[in-house]
């Protein structure tokens, strides 16, 4: 099905940021009518490749060829003009502009006197959403869209470009099964129309479902490019991490202790209603459901960053004041939020400040901080989580997505929580680290920490949880024991109908 000649060739490109060599001498080809996966651990250099294709970064050495001619992709506009559309790892929308305008920016349909034809623009957006099978009002501003919806708008944006090369950097990280299926359907039709797709994901089942060819990267270098028919998942993982992995879900069996987190009658109109559950010490409880079912809102309300209308939260017998994260922290609650860029990290501050921020009071002596203890703590915890960084004083924003996630985890694990709430803890994390995170959660539970995990990844939910709570449209609709929880039963509860996956 692939054309004989490559549509786009990446030839021995390299890119360094100061001392960090993010990409070194990487070459691969993309063919029209083929989906090409790019895999690698966090920080392997995948997004950097994407940004070079997008014209955001210029390669230090090497070249990018389109149809056999070298391209100078100095700016995103150049890449756009060359027919390359990119979905970035992090959504890049204009919050003040309407969704339709976001999609059409720079390509707005023009009417008389070169003025923008708004009606046509809105129609265009509506058609794209129809193709993706979602209903987002094209006239509403992008501000306030959920991450998933933002990602969907990004996808619509890339579709609207009618590009010959479509690059997707973890487009599915924020999506659930149904939306992923929709996206794949659209991606396949693009591919069948002759476009070259490049697809990045940390989920192998997605890669095998969509792609024909896979390029594996490690530490900025090209490891191999194979047809997916020629390589097994285990081989891919081995090539990625350079070693064999242990079990992905190393769940230890722990006898549950006393109730550590007790939630009763929690409501917040219109997001969730009458949510009640317990989590015991040593237990891992998963909160499953579709995107937008209100899971994140529930845990944020428990932690106090979001308000609540009614209901009580008790931690080890102590009732928490609503709306006070500070008190929740003091009672031993930690929340690893779902959106690390906005909620988890201070992108322009150093790694050490990020890691120790929640603890700055307890690290102070007589109310003063000298910096030494903070540095020591930060070093200890980032090393525990095997975070890859240059110096502790570097901006956390310079780390790769996965390493940023590790910093968030380090930040909260360092507070020694009694109740650890993790919201999508492994979103955007590579398999190796994912296993580490899971092992860590297990061992924390074994040490008597109560873990509440929000996750959209069913395997993770099923593999890790002692109990699964399922939410649908803001209500807790099911509580499944480890033995009862299966893909079917969880999906049934989450959707209210027989799962079709």
């Amino acid at each position: 099905m692939a054309d004989a000649l490559p549509l786009l060739r990446v030839r021995e490109v390299s890119k360094s940021f100061g001392a960090v060599a993010a990409v070194r001498d990487v070459s691969f080809d993309l063919y029209g009518g083929e989906a090409h996966a790019l895999v690698g651990e966090n920080g392997a250099g995948k997004s950097t490749i994407v940004k070079m294709l997008a014209g955001v970064h210029r390669p230090d050495t090497g070249s990018i060829e389109l149809d056999g001619t070298g391209q100078d992709l100095g700016t995103p506009a150049d890449a756009k003009a060359a027919g390359i559309a990119v979905i970035y790892q992090e959504p890049t929308l204009f919050p003040d502009l309407s969704v339709a305008e976001n999609i059409a920016m720079g390509r707005q349909p023009l009417g008389r006197f070169k003025t923008i034809d708004r009606a046509a623009m809105v129609r265009q957006a509506a058609q794209l959403f129809a193709r993706l099978g979602v209903s987002i009002d094209p006239n509403r501003p992008a501000r306030g869209l959920s991450i998933a919806d933002q990602q969907l708008v990004e996808i619509a944006k890339a579709l609207s470009a009618d590009a010959r090369v479509v690059v997707m950097d973890e487009p599915t990280a924020a999506l659930t099964g149904v939306e992923v299926e929709r996206l794949f359907a659209v991606a396949r039709s693009l591919r069948d129309d002759g476009a070259a797709l490049m697809f990045i994901s940390h989920r192998f089942e997605e890669i095998t479902a969509l792609c024909e060819r896979v390029t594996i990267m490690r530490d900025g270098r090209h490891v191999s490019t194979d047809l997916l028919t020629d390589i097994t998942v285990d081989e891919m993982v081995r090539k990625m991490v350079g070693r064999d992995l242990g079990a992905l879900f190393p769940k230890q069996d722990v006898a549950a202790g006393a109730v550590a987190l007790k939630v009763r009658g929690l409501s917040r109109d219109p997001v969730f209603k009458d949510v009640s559950f317990d989590v015991r010490a040593g237990e891992i409880v998963a909160l499953a459901g579709l995107v937008g079912s209100g899971r994140s809102e529930v845990v944020q309300s428990i932690f106090g960053v979001d308000p609540r209308d009614t209901g009580t939260v008790e931690v080890v017998g102590k009732t928490l004041k609503p709306g006070s994260p500070k008190q929740a922290m003091a009672a031993g609650v930690a929340l690893v939020p779902e959106d690390r860029r906005q909620q988890g990290l201070l992108m322009e501050l150093s790694i050490e400040r990020n890691v120790t921020l929640p603890r700055s009071r307890s690290l102070s002596q007589l109310g003063f901080l000298t910096g030494n203890r903070e540095r020591r703590e930060a070093k200890e915890w980032t090393q525990k989580l095997k975070t890859k960084y240059g110096r502790l004083s570097d901006n956390v924003g310079t780390l790769s997505g996965g390493n940023q996630q590790k910093v968030v985890l380090a930040k909260w694990l360092a507070t020694n929580p009694k109740v650890l709430i993790v919201d999508e803890p492994t979103r955007g994390i590579d398999v190796g680290t994912k296993a580490e995170v899971h092992r860590l959660m297990s061992s924390l539970a074994a040490d008597g920490v109560a873990v509440l995990m929000v996750s959209s990844e069913l395997p993770e939910v099923l593999g890790m949880a002692d109990r699964v709570l399922v939410m649908r449209e803001g209500r807790l609709v099911a509580e499944l024991d480890r033995s009862e929880a299966t893909e079917e039963s969880v999906m049934f509860a989450a959707t209210g109908q027989e799962a079709t996956l």
């Binding site: 940021f17 994260p325 906005q342 201070l346 992108m347 400040r353 921020l357 000298t370 910096g371 901006n395």
Partner: protein, 321 residues
């Protein structure tokens, strides 16, 4: 993007040191080349001229680090001065008036804080509004009159120096407050929270910081110090007037930015700001002594301000290529 971000961090770290070095050099050159720049009397004048800017710049630094701004400081100073004159005319004891003026400053700051944190309005807009409001109220209170004849014990203390030494009394106030604000910003959990709020308000909230509360108290501090500056201004000139300190807000912001604080919040250091204040003040003093006209002083201030942000940036760019 993140490449420039990291450059920005090191740039500000470097700039902090650079501005201090530049200030020291300017002081040395001025002392060597400008007659009577280095005299103890001139030092006294210099410190008195710097006083209001130096004081107000301290809380302003913290406010700007949180990503907000307070343009109402000069009007707060003016209102504090006007109220001081009004009460003095009403025959109130100065010992009551001064605390009242400080309290007034704090309340005015709290009003700013309320609008910014409780109502969530942009601080640039809010404080442009209170800039007009407070100055207007100052005129309402004192109208066109000027109140003089403040007790000489107080006015002499403000203009005087520590028993026989050439060190002006008010320098004590500046130094003490600079240390207080410096320690708070750089070596306490509050300071960490201030930086966190400036870097990302939402992420700070998720880490247990209460951005609203941090900002609110910073505005109160800003108002309080502006009120104090109003009292000292009045005593220094022995003249309470509604238009005292008009236009000072831009000079303060200029000094803070010159000191390497990022207008976008999250970055900056207090020693740099102090150096910025001293640099601006001593340069103006030296140029004035060398009979350089007022116009030139304006141009120098402006160019310096632009250079302070442009210079490190260009150097960085050259170094990278």
């Amino acid at each position: 993007m993140s490449a420039t971000e990291s450059a920005v961090v090191s740039r500000f770290a470097n700039w902090n040191a650079a501005i201090i070095a530049i200030t020291v050099i300017v002081l040395i050159v001025a002392a060597a080349s400008v007659d009577s720049f280095g005299t103890s009397q001139n030092f006294g004048f210099l410190v008195l001229d710097l006083l209001p800017i130096a004081l107000v710049a301290l809380p302003m630094t913290l406010v700007i680090v949180t990503g907000e701004i307070d343009l109402s400081v000069a009007s707060t100073l003016g209102l504090s001065s006007a109220v001081m004159g009004y009460l003095w005319n009403a025959n109130q004891p100065i010992e009551t008036i001064i605390p009242l003026c400080l309290l007034l400053g704090a309340v005015l700051g709290a009003v700013n804080g309320f609008f910014v944190t409780v109502l969530g309005l942009p601080s640039l807009a809010v404080t442009i509004g209170t800039l007009a409001l407070y100055r207007g109220l100052a005129f309402v209170v004192l109208g066109d009159s000027a109140v003089a004849d403040f007790p000489t014990v107080y006015t002499d203390w403000v203009t005087g120096s520590i028993g026989g030494t050439p060190i002006p009394n008010v320098l004590i106030i500046i130094v003490v407050l600079a240390i207080v604000f410096g320690v708070i910003l750089h070596a306490t959990p509050i300071g960490r929270a201030v930086f966190a709020v400036g870097a990302s308000e939402q992420a700070a909230r998720f880490a247990g910081v209460r951005p609203g509360r941090v900002k609110f108290w910073l505005y109160v501090a800003s108002g309080l110090i502006s009120g104090l500056a109003g009292v000292l201004w009045t005593l220094r000139y022995s003249s309470a007037r509604a238009d005292n300190g008009a236009g000072l807000e831009l000079a303060v912001v200029a000094a803070v930015l010159l000191g390497g604080v990022s207008i976008f919040g999250g970055k900056g250091a207090l020693p740099g700001v102090i150096a910025g204040v001293v640099l601006l003040g001593s340069l103006q003093n030296a140029l004035r002594l060398s009979d350089v006209s007022n116009e030139a002083l304006n141009v120098v201030t402006g160019v310096l301000l632009i250079a302070s942000v442009l210079g490190p940036n260009l150097v960085n760019r050259l170094r990278r290529t």
